[in-house]
Amino acid sequence: MNAHETGEHCKAVFAALSEYLDLELSPASCAELEIHLKGCPPCIEFVESLRKSIDFCRGYSPGELPKALSAEARHELQEAYKKMLEAREDQ
């Protein structure tokens, strides 16, 4: 039984997929991984699902926003900003 059948290669590929998708693998490791992918349809399918899941995360925009900023909270922030500017000028 070869390594592919026992899933050893699949496991090694599995461990390196984020680095592969983030283009952070070394050229040699990348080439090795792609050779495996060419002969392993289940791994290709898995890579595609992971790629889509990551894209989904990256494209996610939260539906919920915080409540509108109260005048009091805005004032507190503005005071902190002004104080910081004044302290910097005094230095």
């Binding site: 059948e5 899933g7 496991k11 599995f14 461990a15 997929l17 984020s18 680095e19 952070e24 289940p42 399918e45 898995f46 595609e48 699902s49 992971l50 889509k52 899941s53 990551i54 989904f56 995360c57 990256r58 996610y60 939260p62 539906g63 919920e64 926003l65 915080p66 409540k67 900023l69 909270a73 805005r74 507190e76 922030l77 503005q78 902190a80 900003y81 104080k83 910081m84 500017l85 302290a87 910097r88």
Partner: protein, 206 residues
Amino acid sequence: MDRQLEVELARRLLAGEAQAFDRFVEHFRAKIFHYSWLMCGQREDAEEVAQETLLKTFESFHQLKQPERVRPWVFRIAKNVCLTKRRRSIFAPSPAQELSLDALMPSKDHHNGGTKIEIADWSHLPEDLVLKTEMKNELQAAIRALPEIYRSVILLRDMEQLSTTETAQILDVAEDVVKTRLHRARLAVRKQLDGRLRDAVKVVAI
């Protein structure tokens, strides 16, 4: 808003241009709120974290020597505020819990001399808007379900699109740790979404 615009707003604020203030506050308040809501679990806590983070940001804004680094700089403050808040709350951080790679691998089927993995059909994910809304809730749930050492990494790396180096600096861990955690977090999220997609496919099939 892309990072270039954030940097521009930070530069203008540092130069004393108060007109940039409201845009900066509105933009980062929403971002920090979202991060801390997924980290803390409570809407009220997330609003307080956002306010406290912005307050600390303005108090120490003169220490921001490189405006290009404004996003990681604000998030480092947010992470610390969030942590302090959670230590005091019933949602106190739990002991670090590890995700194992083996548990995140898809299950395999060996028959007829070939190997098959059990996986949902992901091809319709981007097109189906109804499914996408449901999946958005599922994504939030998947992220909330992650142990927090993984949750913070996926939020910063994939959602806030900070670099590995920036994320490592924010979380005070080595870059390799960020990479390992990110990979496991992504696999765990993929696994949960995969299960949800399979349910959806089953519903369609009936």
